[in-house]
């Protein structure tokens, strides 16, 4: 409640009307960088980073802005990747429709699980989300259409709107760029909307929000569903990139990874989850030769991160600059 840091008497809050110039500049620079990137680097790796950046940003909507810790976000990420892979491979849908199917499925799943989970708070909420995610994992392992241990392999990349072939990595890259960047901008809008303002109020003082007449559970359910949908969008896109939906995506360790990305980058910041996702995915890629040591290295980085900069990388930078990032 009462913050400890009321040391200065002149803490002025910037008027949050629309997007601050600093954020606009960062987004534009980011977009230009991402457009140029595949001409210099391997596009598949960049696409993987973008998918995880969207996943982490979706998770951050729930944790950083909704104040709700879910330990089962792999269910939406992975669940959507299965649905999208199935839609593309079996139903023969075009990539954009497959991805939308995946995201919609994740949204429905998020609504169902969320409406039960929000009845509990704190650690109990987290455990309920984890329990349901384990059930989803079990379904993925046992159900017919998910292919069990094999997953769904050889998902065709298809043709965007039935017109443009995405078989080429470059073409696919720009499809992924538009989906993930658009997704991240949409998440930004949610945070900076009239709804986002109420979310912030609920996170800061729930009893007071109730006494002002807000049905807080309804807001929590909406933010949960939105977060699940966007996590699903990320998972569905990833399945199109790797032409694969596998158990890794629904495994509980995936839920843990997204927590790690968000905390490392800075929860409740706009750009933190993106940086966090970039670091973790890069580490996994380049340290892959160390085998099982990757998890140990990740663990050490996490411990150091928590000890040295609790607000995450972007959180610390934001404090230095005295500007929200």
């Amino acid at each position: 409640m009462a913050m400890a840091d009321n040391t200065t008497s002149t803490q002025r809050v910037e008027q949050t009307a629309g997007m601050p110039t600093l954020h606009k500049v960062i987004f534009v620079v980011l977009l230009i960088g991402l457009i140029a990137l595949p001409f210099f680097a391997y596009p598949v790796f960049a696409m993987k980073v973008m998918c995880f950046a969207l996943f982490a940003a979706a998770f951050n909507l729930l944790l950083g802005f909704g104040g709700l810790l879910s330990l089962g976000h792999a269910a939406y990420f992975g669940g959507a990747s299965y649905v999208a892979a199935h839609a593309a491979k079996v139903w023969g849908l075009t990539p954009e429709l497959s991805v939308l199917c995946g995201a919609a499925a994740a949204g429905v799943l998020g609504f169902a699980i969320g409406s039960l989970a929000i009845r509990r708070q704190g650690i109990y909420f987290a455990m309920v989300t984890l329990a349901f995610a384990q059930m989803v994992y079990f379904v993925a392992l046992q159900a017919e259409f998910t292919g069990g241990e094999d997953g769904i392999q050889g998902v065709p990349r298809g043709e965007l709107f039935g017109l443009f072939s995405l078989a080429d990595n470059m073409a696919l890259y720009f499809f992924v760029l538009i989906v993930t960047f658009g997704g991240i901008l949409f998440l930004y809008r949610i945070v900076h909307s009239p709804f986002g303002q109420v979310m912030k109020a609920i996170r800061e003082n729930e009893p007071r929000a109730i006494s002002l007449g807000y049905d807080v559970n309804r807001y929590k359910l909406i933010v949960f569903t939105l977060s699940a949908t966007m996590a699903g969008l990320a998972g569905a896109t990833k399945s199109q990139v790797f032409q694969l939906a596998s158990l890794t995506d629904v495994h509980w360790s995936m839920s843990g990874e997204v927590v790690l990305m968000t905390l490392l980058g800075g929860m409740g910041t706009v750009f933190g989850p993106l940086i966090g996702a970039g670091i973790i995915v890069t580490m996994q890629n380049y340290l892959a030769t160390f085998g099982a040591w990757v998890t140990i290295i990740q663990g050490v980085i996490f411990v150091l991160g928590v000890l040295m900069f609790r607000e995450g990388i972007i959180g610390v930078i934001s404090r230095w600059l005295k500007k929200p990032l």
């Binding site: 913050m3 009239p194 003082n205």
Partner: protein, 249 residues
């Protein structure tokens, strides 16, 4: 006499312990009614029952003739029955203006719009400023709420409450933990906002409510000890005993 809020046979038991026992209370419309009593008298429990943050074990509560016993706290807030909290109930990371806007936004709708820019919230600015001026926080409009001194936080809380244009206010120890200067300022503010509203306030301190309240109900050990004007109850021997016997400050 027109009754705004009425409780009949209100009882709350916690695992065998009776915190509030068979209380009948009626608050007349347009008055300031105080609920006082020494520590552990059941004031806060009673208050939480009336504001629906607790469910009564027995008894009924009605507001303007409507049975609200089984309603949720957010529902009665929308009926115009708005409570405050003992700890200052603000949104610390929002500015003073944003705090008040959160209340206006609920009253005017649009709070579910997650696809629109928060630019549209600036249409509430003028009205929010009116409420901020009303409680004397004009110079702090863009200040982060957490940075305000204690008394100002309570003023902000009142401004936020007023933004809902409630017909009745339920104040939980509005003067708790305040210095003399702040107490006077908040007392004046309460008198001002009570001009066309009903106020029920819980207080620990008898002297604070003395010249503010039209009617006072004294609780002790979960039951009503006395009720009347300040002049009446301050002479009642059982009240004097309860206060001297417990704590008098």
């Amino acid at each position: 006499m027109v009754v705004a809020l009425e409780a009949k046979g209100l009882t709350k038991e916690f695992k065998g312990f009776v915190a509030v026992n068979n209380i009948d209370l009626s608050v007349e419309k347009g008055t300031i009614h105080a609920l006082i009593g020494p520590n552990g008298a059941g004031k806060t429990t009673c208050f939480n029952l009336l504001t629906k943050f607790l469910q009564p074990t027995r008894g009924t509560i009605s507001y303007e003739g409507l049975d609200i016993t089984r309603m949720k706290p957010a529902e009665i807030a929308r009926l115009g029955l708005v409570r405050s909290f003992q700890i200052s109930a603000i949104f610390p990371d929002l500015s003073v203006l944003q705090n008040v806007r959160v209340a206006l936004q609920r009253a005017r709708g649009e709070s579910y719009d997650f696809w629109r820019s928060d630019k549209i919230l600036s249409k509430f600015d003028d009205q929010a400023r009116t409420h901020i001026d009303e409680v004397g926080l004009t110079e702090f409009t863009h200040e982060r709420a957490a940075a305000l001194p204690y008394g100002r936080k309570r003023a902000l809380e009142i401004a936020t409450t007023l933004a809902l244009s409630p017909d009745m206010l339920l104040l939980d120890e509005p003067m708790a933990g305040m210095g003399r200067e702040d107490v006077d300022r908040i007392a004046q503010l309460i008198r001002k906002i009570a001009l066309n509203r009903t106020v029920l306030m819980v207080e620990h301190n008898l002297s604070v409510v003395a010249d503010l309240s039209d009617r006072i109900t004294v609780l002790a050990r979960g039951e009503i000890l006395a009720e009347g004007t300040y002049a009446e109850i301050s002479k009642a021997p059982e009240v004097i005993e309860a206060y001297i016997g417990a704590s008098h400050d």
